[in-house]
Amino acid sequence: MAALSGQHRLSGQRRLERRWGLLMAVPAILGFAIFTAGPMVASLGLSLTDWQVGGAPSFVGTGNYTALADDELFWKSLSATTYYTLGAVPVSLIVAFVVAMLLNQRVRGLPVWRTIFYLPTLVPAIANVVLWIWIFNPDFGLLNSLLRQGGLPTGMWIYDENLAVPSLIVMSTWAFGNTMVIFLAGLQGVPQHLYEAVSVDGGGPWQRFRHVTVPMMTPTIFYNLVVGVIGTFQVFNQAYVMTEGGPNNATLFYVYYLFRKAFRESEMGYASALAWVLFMIIMIVTFLMFRNARRWVYYEMAGGR
């Protein structure tokens, strides 16, 4: 009898959750339908045409997609972007995690420290770019000035084909504030009693880090990884404003190339095809990350929900 009523209560709970679940997802679903799905479908349609802004589109089937395969710059941009992503994501994740760990200690003047490390994220893009052009300037730039004073070899940075992408990775790492803030929020969510439990068992800082912090932080790390990869694949601004894809296409990032096609040459059809190819690539990479996540991401009651 008791078991039966228990079951009854549970299914009532299920119904409740389903009803409320759908209801509470409505704004997000509506937003997607109105503001995303429409434009997405439109761009998919456009990718099958030769539409130039201002002209009339005509259907070319998969013509844009087959043209991509022969487009040297498409391949170039894909490799430049992959190179950048492979560098920028891990570096900024590690830097942000380390700083977040430091800031999660009992430090005097914590608000000030947090604000300092977050400052770079606040600098408006236009000022940021000017700032870094100045830092990288081979002649009077800050970087080479410091290296010279230290008697170290100087470089041409963003003006050197081989150093351009690493330079931009450094630049993007500087603004690690957003990643750091998410790590900080995650670190605050790690229950104190787990740390205490390790300490009671005689574990030191390393054991606490290894057996509590890291596993409890895996959802946050995973979030930053996914968001980092998705965002970095769409890196655009630096190539657009700082290097214009140069030198010699070293920083011809994918979305910059797409943007150029779309708005310089108004080749919206071709640009849409480029976008959908990138979309598929990011989808596959994200899917792989999610599939792989089961092996290392720890959730409260994982599997239960």
Partner: protein
């Protein structure tokens, strides 16, 4: 032993802070310099003379007071909408069980994977059909639909955070007869301050520094925002370095203050999580 650890900690913080701050210090010192002094090699750090007029000249070159108000209105509306609707959605996607939930979530998430460059024109045409060009609607309304588009990441972020809150709390509340809304509002939200603050900061900064959106959708100069004002210091022929730097410094000052104020909620988050266990 313990004090040596402390010293190391502070050393590490300083070591990290110097490179972080250096470019920023450069921004401020440039804001106070005459153009010619900015570019002397090796770099000089102290303005000579202090060009305070950069600030007054830059901030009067454009109606920055009006731009400030315009930007605040857009940012506040966007932050409210994003925090509220994204939290609601994240709650549904993390703590309520319904069939198709994960598929729907994955579909929503896919919207951040399509470069905005190609959705821009269709979106613009849609706002035109709605007769809402040259209003702030295109810049604010999407945020009230769980931050449609890129804002879906906020749903993801909140969902990740909600997933780390023990489910026993929900179950206890349900046994007491609470509705899911009540669980969301009274149990999950109060425990999620750090994540909410993060979303607030991100959304605020995102709108504050957004350039392309206001530029595309607004046509009247009276409606322009701070970032458009900033861009006018750098044109094809002329860049007014001193003005650009001074105006940039002035534009970020309010968000530095905002961040400084909000980040204390991270600490509050700790105490709460401490209590719950």
């Amino acid at each position: 032993m313990r004090s040596r650890g402390r010293i190391l900690l502070y050393l590490a913080l300083v070591a990290g802070a110097v490179p972080t701050l250096l470019p920023f210090v450069w921004l401020v010192r440039s804001a106070l310099m005459q153009d010619a002094q900015m570019f002397i090699a090796p770099p000089q750090w102290i303005p000579d003379p202090f060009q305070w007029s950069n600030f007054t000249d830059a901030l009067t070159a454009q109606p920055f007071g009006r731009y400030f108000l315009n930007t605040v209105v857009i940012a506040v509306i966007s932050v409210l909408g994003t925090v509220l609707t994204c939290s609601i959605a994240a709650f549904s996607f993390s703590r309520l069980r319904w069939r198709g939930r994960n598929v729907v979530f994955a579909v929503l998430l896919s919207s951040v994977m399509l470069p905005y460059a190609v959705t821009l024109i269709p979106t613009f045409v849609m706002w035109q059909e709605l007769g809402l060009l040259n209003t702030i609607a295109p810049l604010t309304v999407p945020s009230w639909f769980a931050g449609a588009g890129g804002g879906v990441l906020n749903v993801f972020l909140l969902r990740q955070f909600f997933l780390t809150i023990p489910f026993e709390l929900d179950e206890a509340a349900y046994i007491d007869g609470a509705s899911p809304w009540r669980v969301f509002w009274m149990v999950v939200m109060p425990l999620s301050k750090p994540a909410i603050v993060v979303v607030t900061i991100f959304t605020f900064i995102g709108t504050w520094n957004d350039f392309l959106g206001p530029l595309l959708y607004l046509n009247d100069e009276e409606k322009y925002t701070l970032s458009i004002g900033l861009a006018s210091f750098q044109s094809i022929y002329i860049t007014q370095w001193g003005y650009l730097m001074a105006a940039s410094a002035a534009v970020i000052a309010p968000i530095i203050a905002l961040f400084f104020f909000l980040q204390r909620y991270f600490i509050e988050g700790v105490t709460l999580t401490g209590i719950k266990n």
